[in-house]
């Protein structure tokens, strides 16, 4: 049994906070961690796993207080500037799926009256929180950006830990306007002021300089990676653009995220150069797929089928760099602009623009919108997205499934629909 399977089995059998801390204590030791890193086929995967484990180790260590829970689309530069160690429950829910823990966490959530109609990212995270698998937070910062779920489920976490006064909702307006920027800027400033008064830090714009500088560098490399992918067909084995959610958001503002994105660039550049040298004319050109929304984080066949059928996911909307460069001299306004630029907030027009541009830039032959159970914001717009892509002759498959709960997704049906779609692309 390999190291990964041993880790998985170990945690499944010992699902408690003590074991998680012990496990992280061992695996995050530099020699062990780098030995573990070497088991991955590419440098980008290696660093992704190393940095993920290191960030978890920090969040689970009592030496790195204060700990802050954050929802996915919060600008994490804020956390690093304020000296808060971030912890992302929604990303952790993805791990519960990958580690085969979701049946237990979802069951726990149900016993605490979380309806089965709710998004499993939040249900699984809530179940894990109820099982006390997460570190105790000192602060919780969430927003209504993209969906309603985080602000609600995170509030429940704040009650559980009796820190309602340290729960902050960033209320992101619907429209991008000067009034919206003012409203949002004031909120972010108030949160920073309040947290600084609690941590005893003096609020000073210089505290944003380093995090913003690193975030801008991440942004630059993420754009470079995106540009490189416009013509790329062959990827390193096991590369999946949907695996980089944590660094893209939760590590924005850290050196690790910059290193990782540079590594991704280098990995892909090798393949790009190789692709140039080889005559593509000999091969039947692959079908280029634009991926919309997320993917199942448990073991599944979707990407194997696509690969076997000579289809390549050439871009994922979630990797679109939607925000302008940050200016540490205007830290609150910069972060407000970043949040307001998110294409999943506000009107569906923002998402349509990103999708159509990506379909054009990445020369997509087709799009797959993974329709995660309970995600009203994404699935509610599926018809519009599909119709708009149709106008530019890009067929879309709305693939029903569940990113976290394997039992809520019929593998057979997914396979059949996927194959049917591939036939359409090849016809």
């Amino acid at each position: 049994m390999g190291i990964k399977n041993r880790l998985k089995t170990g945690i499944q059998k010992n699902l408690n906070l003590r074991y998680i801390k012990r496990l992280l204590g061992i695996i995050a030791l530099k020699p062990v961690l780098y030995a573990y890193g070497k088991t991955f086929p590419s440098a980008s995967d290696k660093y992704l796993n190393i940095f993920t484990i290191e960030s978890l180790k920090k969040a689970y260590s009592d030496n790195n207080r204060p700990i802050g829970y954050g929802s996915l689309f919060i600008p994490y530069e804020l956390f690093y500037a304020l000296g808060i160690t971030p912890f992302l429950p929604e990303v952790m829910a993805g791990f519960t799926a990958g580690l085969g823990l979701a049946p237990q966490t979802l069951k726990e959530a149900s016993s605490h009256w979380y309806s089965q109609d709710l998004c499993t990212f939040h249900r699984s995270a809530s179940g894990a929180a109820e099982l006390d698998l997460f570190p105790r937070p000192d602060y919780i910062i969430t927003s209504n950006l993209a969906c309603d779920a985080a602000q609600k489920s995170f509030y429940i976490h704040s009650v559980k830990h009796n820190i309602e006064k340290n729960y902050y909702l960033i209320d992101v307006p619907y429209r991008y306007s000067e009034g919206s920027i003012r409203y949002l800027t004031a909120q972010i400033k108030n949160i920073c002021t309040d947290i600084c008064s609690k941590t005893g830090k003096k609020l000073d714009i210089s505290m944003f300089e380093e995090a913003f500088g690193l975030s801008n560098e991440l942004r630059k490399w993420a754009i470079e990676v995106g540009s490189l992918r416009k013509n790329l067909v062959d990827y390193p084995p096991s590369f999946n653009g949907l695996n980089f959610i944590l660094p893209f958001h939760g590590l924005a503002g850290t050196r690790e995220a910059v290193i990782l994105y540079k590594e991704i660039y280098r990995d892909l550049k090798k393949y790009s150069d190789k692709q140039h040298k080889e005559s593509l004319g000999k091969k039947k050109p692959a079908k280029r797929i634009l991926w919309l929304h997320l993917k199942p984080y448990y073991r599944n066949e979707i990407f194997d089928i696509l690969y076997r059928e000579n289809c390549r996911v050439v871009f994922e909307e979630i990797n679109h760099v939607y925000w302008p460069e940050l200016d540490y001299k205007k830290p609150f306004e910069s972060l407000a602009r970043k949040m307001l630029s998110n294409f999943l907030g506000g009107s569906i027009d923002k998402r349509i623009d990103v999708t159509l541009k990506a379909a054009h830039d990445y020369k997509a032959d087709g799009a797959i919108l993974f329709s995660h159970w309970g995600c009203r914001q994404s699935n509610g717009g599926a018809r519009i997205i599909k119709d708009n892509l149709k106008k530019i002759n890009v067929p879309t498959l709305v693939l029903d499934g569940d990113c976290v709960d394997q039992n809520n997704s019929s593998q057979g049906q997914v396979k059949t629909r996927l194959q049917g779609f591939i036939e359409i692309l090849n016809s």
């Binding site: 309603d148 429940i156 009203r376 018809r383």
Partner: protein
């Protein structure tokens, strides 16, 4: 004994009359709208501006039978939104425009669908903040001003201060009378039947306010007069609900006639409620102040009205519910949600915990909007009431 029978007969007649909506609201029901209507969906829509613009404000209750709407939304999506869209696909021409709010993910997507596929009727989305503080009030005031401009475009001219003032007075009066009516309903459960109460609530949201208010005033006048004569003796002779456990209903857009009829037949004593179809609509007046901008006063009211679970401060919402429970001596809570309403569903774990701490049992029901399964719900409510 003879006296008792006569009292009973009198009471029966009075009660029958009070529950005769067609009789009291004849003008409301038969009046043909001379003004154009603007449709809305959520109680965070400031009706005052619609009225000030010279339009009738009509809440869309939706079509119960879903045919075309299913193909626009996923299967697990708010059934009210699907019904509302079905209604727009069929009857949008009855409206001059539609006003949406960003109350939840579902509504945001509903607005997108309407904007893309309903080109003959303009749609507007009002951005409603989730926070309740000075900054959010100022922000919301600006948004209401933007909505006013949208209505002015439809009107073809500016809406002046006086028009807004008059609309505020009119809607405030409606709120005041609906509050009075609801107090009578809670205090005299034998007099006003549950379906009647919600029919009046529905009329208040879909009718010309002036005509509705005339009818409502007369109706309340009649109820007031009977209260002094027949009701006092009558109540004691009716199936007595005063000793039944007082129930509070918490829900969202619950507008299911069959449900109300079912609860009425079960002699349920409804003593308090927290619904989009009642107190979240009429609770709290717009308080005007010479030193304050009218739109700011309107913003203040809407942000501080009995809140939907969508607002950030779920803690204050739960406290609001707890106060209601204590004040009205509630013995049990029925939590009814339309399926797939995330804001409602996420409120339940904490609500359940709070109610457990108070020793208040709660029944959880989730229902469709267009396919009410009476048998199953009835069995569950009956068992709950028996347990109480």
């Amino acid at each position: 004994m003879t006296q008792d029978i006569r009292d009973t007969e009198n009471f029966d007649k009075t009660r029958e009359k009070i529950n005769d909506i067609k009789f009291f609201f004849g003008n409301t029901l038969t009046s043909e709208n001379k003004k154009a209507a603007i449709g809305w969906f959520c109680t965070y829509t400031p009706e005052e501006l619609i009225i000030a613009g010279g339009f009738i404000s009509v809440r869309v209750f939706g079509r119960k039978k879903i045919i075309k709407s299913e193909s626009y939304f996923p299967i697990n999506f708010c059934p009210y939104i699907k019904s509302g869209w079905e209604s727009l696909l069929a009857d949008a021409d009855n409206f001059k425009a539609m006003i949406f709010t960003n109350s939840c993910d579902g509504m945001r997507r509903f607005f997108d669908i309407a904007s893309k596929y309903l080109d003959r009727v303009p749609s507007y989305l009002l951005d409603v903040p989730h926070l309740k503080n000075k900054d959010s009030r100022d922000f919301f005031t600006g948004n209401i001003d933007d909505m006013k401009k949208f209505i002015e475009k439809l009107k073809g001219e500016k809406i002046d201060e006086e028009e807004i003032e008059n609309a505020v007075k009119l809607i405030n009066k409606k709120r005041k009378l609906l509050k009075e009516y609801s107090n009578i309903f809670y205090k005299s459960p034998n007099l006003i039947e549950i379906p009647t109460y919600y029919k009046v609530m529905k009329l208040s949201m879909i009718s010309d306010p002036k005509i509705f208010l005339d009818d409502l005033e007369k109706y309340l006048g009649f109820i007031g007069s009977t209260d002094k004569t027949n009701t006092k003796n009558g109540i004691s002779l009716q199936p007595d609900r005063r000793n039944s456990p007082a129930i509070m209903i918490i829900g969202n857009f619950i507008a299911e006639d069959k449900l109300w009829e079912m609860l009425s037949k079960m002699n349920l004593k409804l003593a308090s409620e927290d619904l989009c179809t009642s107190n979240r609509y009429f609770g709290k007046q717009v308080v005007t102040d010479d030193n304050k901008d009218l739109l700011e006063s309107i913003a203040e009211r809407y942000l501080n009205k009995p809140q939907c679970m969508r607002m950030a401060d779920l803690g204050s919402k739960l406290a609001e519910i707890e106060n209601n429970i204590v004040k009205n001596n509630i013995k049990g809570v029925i939590f009814i949600t339309l399926k797939f309403c995330d804001n409602m569903l996420y409120s339940f774990p904490l609500l359940k915990q709070r109610l457990n701490n108070m020793g208040i049992p709660v029944l959880y029901l989730d229902i469709e909007y267009n396919n009410f399964s009476e048998g199953q719900i009835k069995t569950r409510v009956q068992a709950f009431l028996e347990m109480l």
